[in-house]
């Protein structure tokens, strides 16, 4: 037991502690000391990326001595599982953490160019948002999940208003109201489940389910249904997603980019609880987690999101509708079920989050070309530009390097994002949709209810077609039919994040074999949650108890 493993056993808590400490320590420096804050934020986000990459590697079973089967259980405060709060890391959490860390780094770098100056405490709120998202992916406790969702929501309330302006305040008002109501729904669901089962630990809950008495079982099912509604609200599912286009469409672009993983927190929670509550037989998942419901809700969400892309006239709003379509595709696919479906859906999730993240940042750069033209703004947009709101007394420390061939870069990136979002070859969006469609053919429903498989095919392909039409229309209007196009000055730190995200999707296309190997195991471990339950309930790593013994001697 050397010092290295001593430190390594604390790795699962790093993605929560790093942004928390960084975000809090930034508050010690006055607002004008931007350089200090920026350095702290960059170091913390890089460290977070390192920790997330390490955890994703650990989750593949790289440390069998410390964490057998690649499931890392971290007992907060050293209390054993059903009594204390646990953090659990498995392949699914590892993938989500890594995705969040990549997105956080790129949108932070993008924000450094202009957006961080538009309001106070952007950097701290950003770190707290990252902390909340990481925590939601790691926690193994229902109430703790609520707390982390609140942390990420509280930070997002501040961030959605970042830069202010009437449109943002109006969208923020709706966003906060619906999410507060959603939090109350979540609380009711959690407390009903606690009242019926007497536990809040997800693994313990799964283990206790078969032994529930008849009356308690009904209470539990009601609680789970209410909980599912709250998660679907977070995931942006119909009919609870009307807040999403205006909130995501009005938020500052780097904020919208990191928000594109926030809806996936809801999808993650649905996946995780759905996997655990279904039990070993895989049959008894309560209503909103079960296949039929997800399938239906997902289909309507997909249709609504796709229709929305046709109606949107403002580019960022169009991307917000793409987020809804992506949520709809995911829910429909998960609802269909089947052996390979979960891993295919995870691949789609990764690809679509990277794509929409890049797209949000890209739209803002493209909008700068439309400064004086008729543009594409149906909504009043005057109070949006950062220029008039920067406090001139603050130092403008980063002039930055301006990249050449800005229009070519914007055009190529727009094409790449279109290919990714609609699922055309050659980028990873195509592979993701191909995997989804091929997994649908393996679904057990093909024998019993073949029409649902064809409905999925039609919905996914139809939404791709309509997406192509909508995005081509937008591209023609933005690049070709504008009266006056101003070639914008793009700084390297603005262009690089978009380029990095797009290159990552290209890398995902090239490395689809290893990526799918990883995700297939993640998907199959969701289908057989017994390993997760055992890992949590038999306690964490032996080193923790060793430490306690050492303290007692």
């Amino acid at each position: 037991m050397n010092d290295w493993t001593q430190l390594l056993q604390h790795l699962p808590v790093f993605p929560i502690v790093i942004p928390l400490v960084a975000g809090a320590s930034m508050l010690l420096f006055v607002e004008a000391r931007r350089t200090t804050r920026t350095i702290i934020a960059l170091i913390a986000t890089l460290a977070n990326l390192g920790a997330a990459a390490g955890l994703a590697y650990v989750a593949s079973g790289a440390m069998p001595g410390l964490w057998p089967e690649g499931i890392a259980v971290y007992l907060l405060g050293g209390w054993d599982a059903p009594f204390g709060i646990v953090l659990v890391l498995d392949r699914l959490s590892g993938v989500m953490l890594l995705l969040n860390a990549v997105l956080a780094l790129t949108s932070l770098v993008y924000a450094l160019a202009r957006w961080k100056k538009m309001g106070p405490h952007f950097q701290s709120l950003f770190q707290f948002l990252v902390m909340g998202i990481n925590g939601a992916f790691l926690t193994g406790d229902l109430f703790n999940l609520f707390v982390f969702i609140e942390v990420l929501l509280a930070a997002s309330y501040g961030l959605v208003l970042h830069g202010l302006g009437e449109v943002r305040v109006r969208a923020g008002l709706h966003y906060i109201a619906i999410n507060l109501a959603g939090s109350f729904i979540l609380l009711i669901g959690i407390s009903l489940i606690y009242g019926a089962s007497g536990t809040l630990n997800m693994a313990d809950l799964a283990a206790r389910l078969p032994a529930l008495a008849e009356g308690d079982r009904i209470l539990f099912e009601i609680g789970a249904a209410i909980l599912g509604v709250a998660f679907l609200l977070k995931a942006g599912a119909w009919p609870l997603n009307f807040w999403l286009p205006s909130a995501y469409g009005a938020a500052a672009p780097p904020v919208a980019a990191i928000f594109s993983i926030m809806t996936k927190v809801g999808v993650y929670a649905l996946l995780r609880l759905g996997s655990l509550l279904a039990g070993p037989s895989g049959a008894g998942a309560p209503a909103p987690f079960s296949d039929g419901w997800l399938f239906g809700i997902g289909l309507i969400t997909l249709a609504l999101g796709t229709a929305g892309t046709l109606t949107a006239r403002q580019p960022q709003r169009l991307v917000a509708y793409c987020v809804i379509s992506s949520a709809g595709t995911l829910l429909t696919a998960l609802g269909l079920g089947g052996a390979g479906m979960k891993s295919a859906a995870l691949f789609y999730l990764v690809s679509s989050v990277l794509a929409t993240g890049a797209f949000f940042m890209l739209t803002e750069m493209i909008e700068r070309t439309q400064r004086s033209g008729e543009g594409a703004q149906a909504e009043p947009f005057e109070s949006f530009g950062p220029e008039d709101q920067i406090d001139p007394s603050l130092p403008d420390e980063d002039v930055g390097i301006v990249i050449p061939a800005a229009m070519a870069f914007l055009g190529m990136s727009f094409i790449a994002c279109t290919l990714l979002v609609t699922g055309l070859p050659p980028l990873s969006g195509f592979i993701a949709k191909f995997l989804l469609l091929s997994a649908a053919l393996d679904s057990p429903l093909l024998a019993t209810l073949p029409v649902s498989v064809w409905v999925l095919w039609a919905a996914v392909l139809g939404s791709s077609l309509i997406g192509v039409i909508a995005l081509c229309h937008m591209g023609v209007r933005l690049f070709w039919s504008s009266e006056e196009i101003v070639t914008p000055q793009l700084r390297l730190i603005e262009a690089a994040p978009v380029a990095v995200l797009l290159l990552l999707t290209a890398a995902l296309t090239a490395g689809v074999g290893p990526a799918m190997d990883y995700l297939t195991l993640a998907g199959s471990s969701l289908s057989s949650p017994q390993m997760y339950i055992d890992a949590v309930l038999t306690g964490g790593p032996p080193i923790v108890s060793h430490e306690i013994k050492g303290g007692g001697q």
Partner: protein, 114 residues
């Protein structure tokens, strides 16, 4: 006792939902507050209602679970109160900002009726 408790939660929830659906921002925030009271009471009630039961084990009494109240919902309700209070306060600030920027207290920032 249970009936009174359940009725109180029901009345609070009903009024809260009704106010939440009203078009004025002040009504919405009152609705959210009432809903949060109802939810807090509900969480508390999920630990089963008991009169005079202590949540912490008393060394003088015998160790019998039926003599004690469930401490977990009380801890949960504390957390929920703090979070609900903080987010409602934040909402109040946004409400004032919206009133200042749009000049109206309509939730859509726009008085025009469809």
């Amino acid at each position: 006792m249970e009936i009174t408790y359940a009725l109180a939660i029901g009345v609070l929830t009903g009024s809260g939902v009704w106010l939440l659906l009203r078009p004025r921002t002040f009504q919405v925030i009152m609705g959210l507050s009432l809903l949060s009271y109802a939810v807090n009471l509900f969480i508390f009630g999920m630990g089963r209602i008991m009169e005079g039961g202590a949540p912490i084990i008393d060394t003088l009494k015998q160790i019998d679970p039926s003599l004690y109240d469930d401490p977990v919902p009380q801890a949960l309700v504390l957390t929920a109160i703090v979070i609900g209070f903080a987010t409602t306060a934040l909402f109040l600030v946004v409400l004032l900002a919206s009133r200042g920027l749009t000049g109206t207290d309509h939730v859509d920032g726009d008085e025009s009726e469809p």
